[in-house]
Protein backbone atom coordinates (compact mmCIF):
# COMPACT_ATOMS: atom_id res chain seq x y z
CA UNK A 1 0.00 0.00 0.00
CA UNK A 2 2.82 2.31 0.92
CA UNK A 3 4.18 2.16 -2.59
CA UNK A 4 0.85 3.19 -4.06
CA UNK A 5 0.68 6.21 -1.75
CA UNK A 6 4.30 7.00 -2.60
CA UNK A 7 3.36 6.78 -6.26
CA UNK A 8 0.65 9.39 -5.82
CA UNK A 9 2.95 11.67 -3.89
CA UNK A 10 5.70 11.27 -6.45
CA UNK A 11 3.31 11.81 -9.37
CA UNK A 12 2.24 15.13 -7.92
CA UNK A 13 5.76 16.23 -7.12
CA UNK A 14 6.91 15.30 -10.65
CA UNK A 15 4.05 17.25 -12.18
CA UNK A 16 4.44 20.27 -9.91
CA UNK A 17 8.22 20.43 -10.26
CA UNK A 18 7.86 20.07 -14.06
CA UNK A 19 10.62 17.48 -14.17
CA UNK A 20 12.09 18.03 -17.66
CA UNK A 21 12.56 14.38 -18.51
CA UNK A 22 9.05 13.43 -17.38
CA UNK A 23 7.60 16.34 -19.36
CA UNK A 24 9.56 15.29 -22.40
CA UNK A 25 8.43 11.66 -22.13
CA UNK A 26 4.84 12.73 -21.58
CA UNK A 27 4.89 15.07 -24.57
CA UNK A 28 6.42 12.35 -26.72
CA UNK A 29 3.79 9.80 -25.67
CA UNK A 30 1.02 12.24 -26.42
CA UNK A 31 2.38 13.26 -29.83
CA UNK A 32 3.12 9.74 -31.01
CA UNK A 33 -0.24 8.35 -29.95
CA UNK A 34 -2.19 11.37 -31.25
CA UNK A 35 -0.39 11.09 -34.57
CA UNK A 36 -1.07 7.34 -34.71
CA UNK A 37 -4.74 7.99 -33.93
CA UNK A 38 -4.91 10.70 -36.61
CA UNK A 39 -3.29 8.48 -39.23
CA UNK A 40 -5.46 5.52 -38.26
CA UNK A 41 -8.61 7.72 -38.37
CA UNK A 42 -7.80 9.00 -41.83
CA UNK A 43 -7.46 5.42 -43.05
CA UNK A 44 -10.09 3.68 -40.97
CA UNK A 45 -13.10 6.01 -41.04
CA UNK A 46 -13.36 6.26 -44.85
CA UNK A 47 -12.66 2.53 -45.05
CA UNK A 48 -15.42 1.83 -42.51
CA UNK A 49 -17.79 4.04 -44.51
CA UNK A 50 -16.91 2.22 -47.70
CA UNK A 51 -17.56 -1.17 -46.16
CA UNK A 52 -20.83 -0.01 -44.59
CA UNK A 53 -22.35 1.63 -47.65
CA UNK A 54 -21.21 -0.91 -50.25
CA UNK A 55 -22.64 -4.37 -50.69
CA UNK A 56 -20.17 -6.99 -51.81
CA UNK A 57 -19.49 -10.70 -51.48
CA UNK A 58 -17.60 -11.71 -48.37
CA UNK A 59 -18.63 -8.58 -46.46
CA UNK A 60 -19.65 -10.56 -43.39
CA UNK A 61 -16.34 -12.45 -43.47
CA UNK A 62 -14.35 -9.24 -43.80
CA UNK A 63 -16.14 -7.73 -40.82
CA UNK A 64 -15.43 -10.86 -38.79
CA UNK A 65 -11.74 -10.59 -39.64
CA UNK A 66 -11.70 -6.91 -38.65
CA UNK A 67 -13.40 -7.69 -35.37
CA UNK A 68 -10.98 -10.53 -34.69
CA UNK A 69 -8.12 -8.08 -35.14
CA UNK A 70 -9.41 -6.07 -32.16
CA UNK A 71 -7.60 -8.73 -30.18
CA UNK A 72 -4.35 -8.26 -32.13
CA UNK A 73 -1.69 -8.54 -29.44
CA UNK A 74 0.38 -5.37 -29.30
CA UNK A 75 3.59 -7.40 -29.39
CA UNK A 76 2.49 -9.13 -32.59
CA UNK A 77 1.57 -5.84 -34.25
CA UNK A 78 4.94 -4.53 -33.10
CA UNK A 79 6.78 -7.55 -34.44
CA UNK A 80 5.01 -7.29 -37.79
CA UNK A 81 5.97 -3.63 -38.19
CA UNK A 82 9.46 -4.38 -36.85
CA UNK A 83 10.00 -6.93 -39.62
CA UNK A 84 8.75 -4.44 -42.21
CA UNK A 85 10.96 -1.59 -40.98
CA UNK A 86 14.10 -3.55 -40.11
CA UNK A 87 17.05 -2.81 -42.36
CA UNK A 88 16.77 -6.41 -43.53
CA UNK A 89 13.04 -5.95 -44.24
CA UNK A 90 11.15 -4.60 -47.26
CA UNK A 91 10.93 -1.01 -45.92
CA UNK A 92 14.36 -1.06 -44.32
CA UNK A 93 15.71 1.59 -46.70
CA UNK A 94 13.49 4.17 -44.99
CA UNK A 95 15.48 3.81 -41.76
CA UNK A 96 12.38 4.09 -39.60
CA UNK A 97 13.10 1.38 -37.05
CA UNK A 98 13.84 2.82 -33.58
CA UNK A 99 12.33 6.18 -34.54
CA UNK A 100 9.17 7.99 -33.33
CA UNK A 101 7.73 7.80 -36.86
CA UNK A 102 8.14 4.02 -36.78
CA UNK A 103 6.21 3.96 -33.51
CA UNK A 104 3.40 6.01 -35.07
CA UNK A 105 3.14 3.42 -37.84
CA UNK A 106 3.11 0.57 -35.33
CA UNK A 107 0.39 2.07 -33.19
CA UNK A 108 -1.66 3.03 -36.25
CA UNK A 109 -1.51 -0.55 -37.53
CA UNK A 110 -2.60 -1.71 -34.10
CA UNK A 111 -5.71 0.46 -33.88
CA UNK A 112 -6.88 0.62 -37.51
CA UNK A 113 -9.01 -2.55 -37.16
CA UNK A 114 -10.57 -1.15 -34.00
CA UNK A 115 -11.39 2.15 -35.68
CA UNK A 116 -12.83 0.47 -38.80
CA UNK A 117 -14.95 -1.72 -36.55
CA UNK A 118 -16.12 1.19 -34.42
CA UNK A 119 -17.01 3.17 -37.55
CA UNK A 120 -19.09 0.22 -38.78
CA UNK A 121 -20.85 -0.05 -35.44
CA UNK A 122 -21.46 3.71 -35.37
CA UNK A 123 -22.92 3.77 -38.88
CA UNK A 124 -25.14 0.75 -38.37
CA UNK A 125 -26.35 2.33 -35.15
CA UNK A 126 -28.10 5.06 -37.13
CA UNK A 127 -31.73 4.08 -37.43
CA UNK A 128 -32.72 2.84 -40.83
CA UNK A 129 -35.84 4.99 -40.46
CA UNK A 130 -33.74 8.14 -40.62
CA UNK A 131 -32.14 7.33 -43.94
CA UNK A 132 -35.44 6.13 -45.41
CA UNK A 133 -37.06 9.33 -44.32
CA UNK A 134 -34.34 11.46 -45.88
CA UNK A 135 -34.61 9.61 -49.15
CA UNK A 136 -38.40 9.98 -49.02
CA UNK A 137 -37.87 13.71 -48.61
CA UNK A 138 -36.04 13.68 -51.91
CA UNK A 139 -32.40 13.60 -50.80
CA UNK A 140 -29.78 12.21 -53.12
CA UNK A 141 -27.78 9.18 -52.09
CA UNK A 142 -24.76 11.34 -51.23
CA UNK A 143 -26.88 13.59 -49.03
CA UNK A 144 -28.31 10.54 -47.29
CA UNK A 145 -24.83 9.14 -46.63
CA UNK A 146 -23.59 12.44 -45.23
CA UNK A 147 -26.61 12.67 -42.94
CA UNK A 148 -26.00 9.19 -41.62
CA UNK A 149 -22.34 10.03 -40.98
CA UNK A 150 -23.37 13.16 -39.11
CA UNK A 151 -25.83 11.18 -37.01
CA UNK A 152 -23.07 8.69 -36.21
CA UNK A 153 -20.37 11.19 -35.31
CA UNK A 154 -20.82 10.80 -31.56
CA UNK A 155 -20.17 7.08 -31.79
CA UNK A 156 -17.29 7.61 -34.22
CA UNK A 157 -15.59 10.03 -31.82
CA UNK A 158 -16.11 7.41 -29.14
CA UNK A 159 -14.26 4.97 -31.39
CA UNK A 160 -11.42 7.45 -31.89
CA UNK A 161 -11.07 7.85 -28.13
CA UNK A 162 -11.01 4.09 -27.72
CA UNK A 163 -8.30 3.87 -30.38
CA UNK A 164 -6.26 6.60 -28.76
CA UNK A 165 -6.62 4.84 -25.42
CA UNK A 166 -5.30 1.62 -26.89
CA UNK A 167 -2.43 3.43 -28.62
CA UNK A 168 -1.18 5.40 -25.64
CA UNK A 169 -1.51 2.52 -23.19
CA UNK A 170 0.19 -0.17 -25.23
CA UNK A 171 3.75 -1.14 -24.48
CA UNK A 172 4.50 -4.06 -26.82
CA UNK A 173 4.72 -2.24 -30.14
CA UNK A 174 6.33 0.86 -28.61
CA UNK A 175 9.04 -1.29 -27.06
CA UNK A 176 9.79 -3.41 -30.12
CA UNK A 177 9.65 -0.65 -32.73
CA UNK A 178 10.88 2.28 -30.64
CA UNK A 179 13.44 0.44 -28.53
CA UNK A 180 12.82 2.65 -25.46
CA UNK A 181 15.75 4.95 -26.32
CA UNK A 182 16.12 7.70 -23.75
CA UNK A 183 15.43 11.14 -25.13
CA UNK A 184 14.27 9.72 -28.47
CA UNK A 185 11.71 6.92 -28.37
CA UNK A 186 11.03 6.52 -24.66
CA UNK A 187 7.33 6.96 -23.96
CA UNK A 188 5.34 6.63 -20.76
CA UNK A 189 4.56 2.94 -21.09
CA UNK A 190 8.11 1.88 -21.96
CA UNK A 191 9.44 4.11 -19.18
CA UNK A 192 7.05 2.40 -16.77
CA UNK A 193 8.30 -1.02 -17.88
CA UNK A 194 11.91 0.10 -17.42
CA UNK A 195 11.41 1.74 -14.03
CA UNK A 196 9.53 -1.34 -12.80
CA UNK A 197 12.36 -3.60 -13.87
CA UNK A 198 14.78 -1.29 -12.06
CA UNK A 199 12.68 -1.49 -8.92
CA UNK A 200 11.51 2.14 -8.94
CA UNK A 201 7.94 1.16 -8.18
CA UNK A 202 6.73 4.54 -6.95
CA UNK A 203 8.05 6.27 -10.07
CA UNK A 204 6.29 3.67 -12.25
CA UNK A 205 3.01 4.35 -10.52
CA UNK A 206 3.59 8.09 -10.84
CA UNK A 207 4.13 7.73 -14.60
CA UNK A 208 0.97 5.62 -14.79
CA UNK A 209 -1.02 8.39 -13.12
CA UNK A 210 0.36 10.92 -15.59
CA UNK A 211 -0.65 8.66 -18.47
CA UNK A 212 -4.21 8.45 -17.16
CA UNK A 213 -4.20 12.20 -16.66
CA UNK A 214 -3.36 12.99 -20.26
CA UNK A 215 -5.80 10.33 -21.48
CA UNK A 216 -8.49 12.22 -19.59
CA UNK A 217 -7.46 15.56 -21.10
CA UNK A 218 -7.58 14.12 -24.62
CA UNK A 219 -10.95 12.48 -24.01
CA UNK A 220 -12.45 15.70 -22.70
CA UNK A 221 -10.95 17.72 -25.55
CA UNK A 222 -12.38 15.39 -28.18
CA UNK A 223 -15.81 15.51 -26.59
CA UNK A 224 -15.74 19.29 -26.50
CA UNK A 225 -14.91 19.32 -30.22
CA UNK A 226 -17.71 16.85 -30.84
CA UNK A 227 -20.28 18.83 -28.84
CA UNK A 228 -19.87 21.85 -31.05
Amino acid sequence: MNEIVDGFVQAFSLIISLDPEVLEITARSLLISLAATAVASLVAIPLGGLIHFREFGGKRGLITIIQTLYALPTVVAGLFVFLLLSRAGPLGFLGLLFTPVGMVIGQAVLIIPLLVGMTLVALSGVKRAISDEIVALGATQTQAILTIIREARFAIIGGIILGFGRAISEVGAAMIIGGNIRGYTRVLTTAIALETSMGNIALSIALGMILLGIAMVVTVALFIVQER
Partner: protein
Protein backbone atom coordinates in the same frame (compact mmCIF):
# COMPACT_ATOMS: atom_id res chain seq x y z
CA UNK B 1 -18.34 32.34 -34.83
CA UNK B 2 -16.00 29.46 -35.05
CA UNK B 3 -18.51 27.26 -33.27
CA UNK B 4 -21.22 28.19 -35.74
CA UNK B 5 -18.86 27.45 -38.58
CA UNK B 6 -18.20 23.98 -37.21
CA UNK B 7 -21.84 23.17 -36.54
CA UNK B 8 -22.73 23.74 -40.18
CA UNK B 9 -20.26 21.10 -41.30
CA UNK B 10 -21.04 17.47 -41.76
CA UNK B 11 -19.95 15.03 -39.07
CA UNK B 12 -17.47 13.37 -41.36
CA UNK B 13 -15.81 16.68 -42.05
CA UNK B 14 -15.56 17.42 -38.35
CA UNK B 15 -13.77 14.15 -37.83
CA UNK B 16 -11.48 14.90 -40.73
CA UNK B 17 -10.69 18.30 -39.22
CA UNK B 18 -9.94 16.72 -35.87
CA UNK B 19 -7.49 14.39 -37.56
CA UNK B 20 -5.94 17.32 -39.39
CA UNK B 21 -5.54 19.32 -36.19
CA UNK B 22 -3.95 16.33 -34.50
CA UNK B 23 -1.53 16.03 -37.39
CA UNK B 24 -0.72 19.73 -37.16
CA UNK B 25 -0.09 19.42 -33.43
CA UNK B 26 2.33 16.64 -34.16
CA UNK B 27 4.25 18.54 -36.80
CA UNK B 28 4.56 21.68 -34.71
CA UNK B 29 5.40 19.53 -31.71
CA UNK B 30 8.21 17.85 -33.57
CA UNK B 31 10.05 21.11 -33.95
CA UNK B 32 9.81 21.95 -30.28
CA UNK B 33 10.67 18.54 -28.85
CA UNK B 34 14.31 18.08 -29.51
CA UNK B 35 14.94 14.36 -29.86
CA UNK B 36 17.93 13.04 -28.06
CA UNK B 37 17.85 15.30 -25.05
CA UNK B 38 18.02 12.97 -22.13
CA UNK B 39 18.59 14.13 -18.62
CA UNK B 40 17.62 11.69 -15.86
CA UNK B 41 20.36 12.89 -13.56
CA UNK B 42 20.07 16.53 -14.52
CA UNK B 43 18.09 18.62 -12.07
CA UNK B 44 15.58 21.06 -13.58
CA UNK B 45 17.73 24.12 -12.83
CA UNK B 46 20.57 23.04 -15.08
CA UNK B 47 18.58 21.55 -17.93
CA UNK B 48 18.42 22.19 -21.65
CA UNK B 49 20.76 25.18 -22.22
CA UNK B 50 23.83 23.22 -21.14
CA UNK B 51 22.97 20.20 -23.26
CA UNK B 52 24.59 20.18 -26.70
CA UNK B 53 22.09 19.77 -29.52
CA UNK B 54 22.22 16.38 -31.22
CA UNK B 55 22.81 17.02 -34.84
CA UNK B 56 25.38 14.62 -36.17
CA UNK B 57 25.00 11.07 -37.17
CA UNK B 58 22.86 8.63 -35.21
CA UNK B 59 24.54 5.58 -33.80
CA UNK B 60 22.42 2.81 -32.30
CA UNK B 61 23.82 0.77 -29.43
CA UNK B 62 21.91 -2.38 -28.52
CA UNK B 63 22.59 -3.68 -25.05
CA UNK B 64 21.20 -6.09 -22.51
CA UNK B 65 18.79 -5.20 -19.76
CA UNK B 66 21.09 -6.09 -16.87
CA UNK B 67 23.86 -3.84 -18.19
CA UNK B 68 21.52 -0.99 -19.06
CA UNK B 69 19.62 -1.14 -15.77
CA UNK B 70 22.81 -0.34 -13.84
CA UNK B 71 22.80 3.10 -15.52
CA UNK B 72 26.43 2.83 -16.64
CA UNK B 73 25.71 3.46 -20.31
CA UNK B 74 23.46 6.46 -19.65
CA UNK B 75 26.32 7.82 -17.56
CA UNK B 76 28.90 7.35 -20.35
CA UNK B 77 26.61 8.45 -23.20
CA UNK B 78 27.08 12.26 -22.92
CA UNK B 79 30.86 11.86 -22.66
CA UNK B 80 30.97 9.97 -25.93
CA UNK B 81 28.50 12.25 -27.69
CA UNK B 82 30.45 15.33 -26.69
CA UNK B 83 33.73 13.91 -27.88
CA UNK B 84 32.53 12.77 -31.30
CA UNK B 85 29.51 14.97 -31.98
CA UNK B 86 27.21 12.00 -32.62
CA UNK B 87 23.84 11.05 -31.27
CA UNK B 88 24.21 7.76 -29.42
CA UNK B 89 20.86 5.99 -29.15
CA UNK B 90 20.80 3.21 -26.58
CA UNK B 91 18.20 0.46 -26.72
CA UNK B 92 18.19 -2.24 -24.07
CA UNK B 93 16.88 -5.66 -25.04
CA UNK B 94 17.28 -9.23 -23.91
CA UNK B 95 20.61 -10.66 -25.10
CA UNK B 96 18.91 -12.87 -27.69
CA UNK B 97 16.93 -9.95 -29.08
CA UNK B 98 19.95 -7.62 -29.08
CA UNK B 99 21.96 -10.15 -31.10
CA UNK B 100 19.05 -10.65 -33.49
CA UNK B 101 18.73 -6.89 -34.06
CA UNK B 102 22.46 -6.75 -34.75
CA UNK B 103 22.28 -9.63 -37.24
CA UNK B 104 19.55 -7.80 -39.11
CA UNK B 105 21.70 -4.68 -39.26
CA UNK B 106 19.35 -2.63 -37.10
CA UNK B 107 22.01 -1.48 -34.67
CA UNK B 108 25.62 -0.39 -35.01
CA UNK B 109 27.16 -1.48 -31.72
CA UNK B 110 26.52 -4.32 -29.27
CA UNK B 111 27.39 -4.30 -25.57
CA UNK B 112 26.63 -7.73 -24.11
CA UNK B 113 27.77 -10.31 -21.56
CA UNK B 114 27.25 -13.76 -22.99
CA UNK B 115 30.59 -15.11 -24.30
CA UNK B 116 29.19 -18.25 -25.96
CA UNK B 117 26.52 -16.34 -27.83
CA UNK B 118 29.03 -13.63 -28.74
CA UNK B 119 31.41 -16.21 -30.20
CA UNK B 120 28.65 -17.68 -32.35
CA UNK B 121 27.77 -14.17 -33.47
CA UNK B 122 31.38 -13.42 -34.41
CA UNK B 123 31.76 -16.76 -36.19
CA UNK B 124 28.69 -15.90 -38.23
CA UNK B 125 30.56 -12.87 -39.55
CA UNK B 126 28.12 -10.36 -38.08
CA UNK B 127 30.59 -8.46 -35.97
CA UNK B 128 34.13 -7.13 -35.88
CA UNK B 129 36.44 -5.67 -33.23
CA UNK B 130 35.09 -7.53 -30.22
CA UNK B 131 36.70 -6.14 -27.08
CA UNK B 132 36.05 -6.98 -23.45
CA UNK B 133 35.85 -3.83 -21.35
CA UNK B 134 34.76 -4.79 -17.82
CA UNK B 135 33.75 -7.67 -15.62
CA UNK B 136 32.10 -8.48 -12.34
CA UNK B 137 30.69 -11.61 -10.77
CA UNK B 138 27.38 -13.31 -10.71
CA UNK B 139 26.25 -14.18 -7.23
CA UNK B 140 23.76 -16.67 -5.84
CA UNK B 141 21.30 -15.00 -3.53
CA UNK B 142 18.72 -16.60 -1.28
CA UNK B 143 16.81 -16.29 2.00
CA UNK B 144 18.97 -15.30 4.99
CA UNK B 145 18.18 -18.59 6.83
CA UNK B 146 19.61 -20.54 3.84
CA UNK B 147 17.06 -23.42 3.86
CA UNK B 148 19.18 -25.62 1.55
CA UNK B 149 22.32 -25.03 3.60
CA UNK B 150 24.52 -24.03 0.67
CA UNK B 151 26.37 -21.07 2.12
CA UNK B 152 30.09 -21.24 1.41
CA UNK B 153 29.85 -24.05 -1.15
CA UNK B 154 31.33 -23.89 -4.64
CA UNK B 155 28.62 -22.83 -7.14
CA UNK B 156 28.42 -26.27 -8.80
CA UNK B 157 28.08 -28.06 -5.48
CA UNK B 158 25.46 -25.55 -4.33
CA UNK B 159 23.41 -26.13 -7.48
CA UNK B 160 23.62 -29.91 -6.99
CA UNK B 161 22.43 -29.49 -3.41
CA UNK B 162 19.49 -27.27 -4.34
CA UNK B 163 18.45 -29.64 -7.11
CA UNK B 164 18.77 -32.69 -4.87
CA UNK B 165 16.75 -31.22 -2.03
CA UNK B 166 14.25 -29.62 -4.38
CA UNK B 167 13.57 -32.82 -6.30
CA UNK B 168 13.27 -34.78 -3.07
CA UNK B 169 10.35 -32.54 -2.25
CA UNK B 170 11.80 -30.67 0.72
CA UNK B 171 9.35 -27.87 1.41
CA UNK B 172 10.65 -24.33 1.04
CA UNK B 173 13.45 -25.13 -1.43
CA UNK B 174 13.00 -23.14 -4.63
CA UNK B 175 15.24 -21.85 -7.38
CA UNK B 176 14.05 -19.08 -9.70
CA UNK B 177 15.58 -19.01 -13.17
CA UNK B 178 15.46 -16.05 -15.54
CA UNK B 179 14.29 -18.53 -18.17
CA UNK B 180 14.62 -15.96 -20.95
CA UNK B 181 17.84 -16.84 -22.79
CA UNK B 182 19.53 -13.79 -21.32
CA UNK B 183 23.23 -13.59 -20.55
CA UNK B 184 22.44 -14.39 -16.93
CA UNK B 185 20.34 -17.37 -18.00
CA UNK B 186 23.23 -18.67 -20.14
CA UNK B 187 25.53 -18.34 -17.14
CA UNK B 188 23.06 -20.33 -15.06
CA UNK B 189 22.88 -23.06 -17.72
CA UNK B 190 26.69 -23.22 -17.75
CA UNK B 191 26.70 -23.88 -14.01
CA UNK B 192 24.13 -26.69 -14.34
CA UNK B 193 26.27 -28.19 -17.08
CA UNK B 194 29.42 -27.91 -14.96
CA UNK B 195 27.52 -29.50 -12.08
CA UNK B 196 26.94 -32.52 -14.32
CA UNK B 197 23.33 -32.09 -15.41
CA UNK B 198 21.61 -32.00 -18.75
CA UNK B 199 19.73 -28.74 -18.42
CA UNK B 200 16.70 -29.52 -20.58
CA UNK B 201 16.08 -33.06 -19.38
CA UNK B 202 17.22 -32.98 -15.75
CA UNK B 203 16.61 -29.42 -14.56
CA UNK B 204 13.78 -27.85 -16.53
CA UNK B 205 10.30 -29.04 -15.55
CA UNK B 206 11.78 -31.42 -13.01
CA UNK B 207 9.49 -30.26 -10.24
CA UNK B 208 7.87 -27.36 -8.46
CA UNK B 209 11.24 -26.36 -6.98
CA UNK B 210 12.49 -24.96 -10.32
CA UNK B 211 10.64 -21.80 -11.34
CA UNK B 212 11.20 -20.26 -14.77
CA UNK B 213 10.35 -16.58 -14.52
CA UNK B 214 10.74 -15.43 -18.14
CA UNK B 215 11.36 -11.94 -16.83
CA UNK B 216 14.11 -9.37 -16.44
CA UNK B 217 16.60 -9.53 -13.60
CA UNK B 218 14.81 -7.07 -11.33
CA UNK B 219 11.48 -8.86 -11.60
CA UNK B 220 13.16 -12.23 -11.15
CA UNK B 221 14.77 -11.01 -7.93
CA UNK B 222 11.41 -9.78 -6.66
CA UNK B 223 9.83 -13.13 -7.49
CA UNK B 224 12.63 -14.98 -5.69
CA UNK B 225 12.19 -12.70 -2.69
CA UNK B 226 8.43 -13.36 -2.57
CA UNK B 227 8.91 -17.14 -2.85
CA UNK B 228 11.86 -17.31 -0.47
CA UNK B 229 13.84 -18.83 -3.32
CA UNK B 230 17.46 -18.86 -4.51
CA UNK B 231 18.44 -17.24 -7.77
CA UNK B 232 21.51 -16.33 -9.79
CA UNK B 233 21.96 -12.60 -10.39
CA UNK B 234 24.52 -10.11 -11.58
CA UNK B 235 25.84 -8.13 -8.65
CA UNK B 236 24.87 -4.74 -10.05
CA UNK B 237 21.16 -5.44 -10.28
CA UNK B 238 21.18 -7.07 -6.85
CA UNK B 239 22.85 -4.02 -5.29
CA UNK B 240 20.35 -1.73 -6.98
CA UNK B 241 17.47 -3.82 -5.59
CA UNK B 242 18.88 -4.86 -2.25
CA UNK B 243 16.68 -2.59 -0.14
CA UNK B 244 13.49 -4.11 -1.53
CA UNK B 245 14.43 -7.76 -1.17
CA UNK B 246 14.50 -10.39 1.55
CA UNK B 247 17.51 -11.96 -0.09
CA UNK B 248 21.16 -12.06 0.89
CA UNK B 249 24.21 -13.20 -1.09
CA UNK B 250 24.95 -16.83 -0.21
CA UNK B 251 27.61 -17.65 -2.79
CA UNK B 252 29.98 -15.04 -4.17
CA UNK B 253 33.05 -17.02 -5.13
CA UNK B 254 33.94 -19.33 -8.00
CA UNK B 255 35.53 -18.85 -11.41
CA UNK B 256 32.33 -19.98 -13.09
CA UNK B 257 30.60 -16.89 -11.68
CA UNK B 258 32.75 -14.56 -13.76
CA UNK B 259 30.68 -12.13 -15.85
CA UNK B 260 32.59 -10.47 -18.70
CA UNK B 261 31.13 -7.57 -20.67
CA UNK B 262 32.14 -7.05 -24.29
CA UNK B 263 31.54 -4.47 -26.95
CA UNK B 264 31.32 -5.38 -30.64
CA UNK B 265 31.15 -3.32 -33.83
CA UNK B 266 28.26 -4.63 -35.87
CA UNK B 267 29.14 -5.46 -39.43
CA UNK B 268 25.91 -6.00 -41.33
CA UNK B 269 25.41 -6.12 -45.05
CA UNK B 270 25.55 -2.70 -46.75
CA UNK B 271 26.47 -0.90 -43.57
CA UNK B 272 28.07 2.45 -44.40
CA UNK B 273 31.74 2.76 -43.52
CA UNK B 274 31.07 5.96 -41.50
CA UNK B 275 28.86 3.98 -39.12
CA UNK B 276 31.46 1.27 -38.72
CA UNK B 277 34.19 3.84 -38.10
CA UNK B 278 32.06 5.62 -35.53
CA UNK B 279 31.17 2.32 -33.86
CA UNK B 280 34.90 1.59 -33.69
CA UNK B 281 35.33 4.97 -32.00
CA UNK B 282 32.91 3.80 -29.33
CA UNK B 283 34.81 0.55 -28.84
CA UNK B 284 38.07 2.51 -28.45
CA UNK B 285 36.32 4.99 -26.16
CA UNK B 286 35.25 2.18 -23.79
CA UNK B 287 38.72 0.62 -23.59
CA UNK B 288 40.53 3.97 -23.23
CA UNK B 289 42.27 4.48 -19.87
CA UNK B 290 40.19 7.52 -18.88
CA UNK B 291 36.86 5.79 -19.44
CA UNK B 292 38.12 2.55 -17.88
CA UNK B 293 38.80 4.55 -14.71
CA UNK B 294 35.30 6.01 -14.82
CA UNK B 295 33.81 2.52 -15.24
CA UNK B 296 35.71 1.41 -12.15
CA UNK B 297 34.37 4.33 -10.13
CA UNK B 298 30.80 3.90 -11.28
CA UNK B 299 28.36 3.13 -8.45
CA UNK B 300 30.87 3.58 -5.61
CA UNK B 301 29.06 6.60 -4.26
CA UNK B 302 25.62 5.04 -4.39
CA UNK B 303 26.31 1.42 -3.40
CA UNK B 304 29.53 1.71 -1.44
CA UNK B 305 31.31 -0.40 -4.04
CA UNK B 306 31.90 -0.25 -7.78
CA UNK B 307 29.49 -2.22 -9.94
CA UNK B 308 32.12 -3.08 -12.55
CA UNK B 309 35.80 -3.91 -12.56
CA UNK B 310 37.48 -2.36 -15.60
CA UNK B 311 39.89 -4.51 -17.60
CA UNK B 312 42.57 -1.80 -17.59
CA UNK B 313 44.47 -3.72 -20.22
CA UNK B 314 44.79 -6.86 -18.07
CA UNK B 315 42.47 -9.42 -19.61
CA UNK B 316 44.82 -12.30 -20.46
CA UNK B 317 43.05 -14.70 -18.11
CA UNK B 318 39.67 -14.01 -19.69
CA UNK B 319 40.84 -15.05 -23.15
CA UNK B 320 39.57 -11.88 -24.71
CA UNK B 321 41.07 -8.74 -26.23
CA UNK B 322 40.87 -5.50 -24.28
CA UNK B 323 43.80 -3.52 -25.69
CA UNK B 324 44.04 -3.65 -29.50
CA UNK B 325 42.56 -0.46 -30.96
CA UNK B 326 39.47 -1.21 -33.04
CA UNK B 327 40.45 -0.29 -36.59
CA UNK B 328 39.09 -2.98 -38.88
CA UNK B 329 36.21 -1.91 -41.04
CA UNK B 330 35.49 -5.30 -42.51
CA UNK B 331 35.82 -8.92 -41.42
CA UNK B 332 39.21 -10.51 -41.97
CA UNK B 333 38.32 -13.75 -43.63
CA UNK B 334 41.62 -15.37 -42.76
CA UNK B 335 41.28 -14.48 -39.11
CA UNK B 336 39.31 -16.61 -36.75
Amino acid sequence: MNMHFLSTLHGGTVIFLVALVLGAILISGCTTTNPGQGGAQIPPTTQSPSLPPHKGQKLILATTTSLYDTGLLDYLEPLFEEKYGVDLLITSQGTGKALEIAKRGDCDILAVHSPDQEKAFMDGGYGINRRCFAYNYFIVVGPADDPAGIRGMAPQEAFRTILGKGKAGNPGIFFVSRGDNSGTHSAEKNIWKAAGYNYTSEVQRSGAWYIEAGKGMGETLQLASEKGAYTLTDEGTYLAYRGKLNLVPVIEEGDILLNVYSVITVHAKNQPVEKITMANNFVNFLISPGIQAKIGEYGKEKYGKGLFIPMNGGCMRFECDCTTPASETGPLTSFK
